[in-house]
Symmetry: C2
Subunit: 302 residues, 2 copies
């Protein structure tokens, strides 16, 4: 694929190449997307950044060759990462977003009128710049006066914070490359300390169907630092052919994972208070995954 469109002049006729991007779900299963245009390609200090137009899902952001988000279904992921914790927390005034350089998470956070300040900690400034330019549907709220952007490594940033946030959202890429440190037990311990007493942590936590061991590891690591941890799911077609996992962890034990504030959230297309509750209902084959407890630590499920 060239810098511009994949056109090829031949005897006066424009030949439009039929270009497909392949994403590996596992070693034995791939998903292919027809790509009609590459809008941006660049290498930052941390990773390769590409924005391309897909025929089925509109514009897509790729980091190191892996799809991060698409205009067609980003609402599912961002609404579920944000509105679940923010509807449970009684007063989410100060919110920290780690990762999330595309801006979709910040956009959803700002829909809650209780929010007074959002700190966005993104390691790669170039991701923010590229998304401002090519994905304004997601990045449009970066200039909101409540938003403060820190270009920093989330792991380092969290180390010094004490009881600073009501909600922390980990909107990371997969646990390889720059995001690896965001999936460690040490990081969860720091996140717990950085939260106020009623604080909630929500993270994207990969696929319970295709990477069950990883989901189990995240769940156990969180459970060592939070008394209350729950897995919830939503189907995000660009991420996986199976439902995507999110983990929610609370600094104190909660009676229920249901929403506690019921003010309607403007312009949601996936989230609703009913979907919120349903997302925590896990089929037996996923429940079993969380009950397996090799460490004898008495991990509890919803």
């Amino acid at each position: 694929m060239g810098k511009e469109r994949g056109n090829y002049q031949h005897l006066g006729q424009v030949i439009e190449l039929d270009l497909w991007f392949t994403e590996r779900e596992t070693d034995h299963l791939t998903v292919q997307w027809r790509i009609t245009e590459t809008l941006y390609r660049g290498r930052s200090r941390y990773q390769e950044i590409v924005v391309a137009e897909s025929a089925e899902f509109g514009r897509m952001l790729f980091l190191d060759g892996i799809i991060q988000t698409s205009l067609r279904d980003e609402f599912i992921y961002h609404e579920m990462l944000v509105h679940v914790p923010l509807s449970i927390h009684p007063k989410p005034e100060k919110v920290l977003v780690i990762g999330g350089g595309d801006g979709g998470t910040v956009r959803e956070v700002l829909k809650h009128p209780e929010v007074k300040r959002v700190h966005l900690v993104e390691i790669d400034e170039q991701v923010i710049e590229v998304c401002r330019k090519f994905l304004p549907e997601l990045a449009a709220k970066f200039d909101d006066p409540r938003v403060e952007i820190h270009i920093a490594d989330g792991v380092e940033y969290l180390k010094d914070r004490r009881q600073a946030y009501d909600v922390i959202l980990i909107d990371s890429s997969d646990p390889l490359g720059p995001a690896e440190g965001l999936f460690t037990e040490a990081f969860y311990a720091d996140a717990s300390r950085a939260l106020k007493k009623e604080g909630l942590l929500a993270i994207q936590s990969e696929s319970p169907f295709y990477t069950p061991k990883l989901v189990q590891d995240i769940y156990r690591a969180l459970s060592r630092h939070f008394p209350w941890v729950r897995l919830y799911t939503a189907s995000v077609p660009t991420y996986s052919t199976a439902p995507w996992g999110f983990m929610l962890a609370s600094r104190r034990y909660l009676e229920s994972a249901g929403p506690r504030r019921s003010k309607p959230i403007p312009a949601t297309r996936y989230y609703s208070p009913e979907i919120h509750k349903a997302a925590f209902v896990l089929p037996p084959f996923i429940k079993e995954l969380l009950q397996t407890d090799e460490d004898g630590e008495g991990v509890s499920t919803a």
Copy 2:
């Protein structure tokens, strides 16, 4: 791919071909499965039948080149098609299955002790024979004394039935080829007449995300013949990268779509009474789909 394995002898070294099957989700999105062995390939009077071993999902059944089921995730589809209606019906004694030649639906129906008789109406005898041999995990219950197999066109079969069944399950392939007639309004009218007064009809109804117009059409056609119609979903990775749709239609108005009989169903890995309820909770973007009412018929949603 040859009749046996895709091996190629070259200078004494066995070269194992790296074979991938591509399924088209839309014109612009495909899913590819690594295939390690073709176990059966044959052409019946109606369609081409293939059973192949996939590296990720185990054995798979293909009809006319489209995946019908896989050993890895068939439990999700079959449990949700069967246990939802059978847990709502107060006394499901006589059950009709149209399609379902792989046997998975019949296997799940027989888990309900109330069931006295299951009629399976499959148009293609060869599908049943092939599944008996190559997919015994699904077809094992065809010989249960409660099962009666009719090799017939489901459309013709239903025309003469009057108040004959408690539950009718339409376990069809996509609405092209032999299954086309199972997605028509005339067929739903016949299904309504073939049901007893408390009768329930459940059908696989394609993808609300990728084929919203088709889902809308099915919903409207059903709504013209049943006073109560609901859409529910479950993620079946082999069918779609987005949740799969099922429709449930009742001959009388129901107060709730929740389960009414609570006896535990043996060996379910996806279905539970909680999953049953959660499956009817639709995100706003799917709800809207069903509320659009071009005919002014006042179609109601859950």
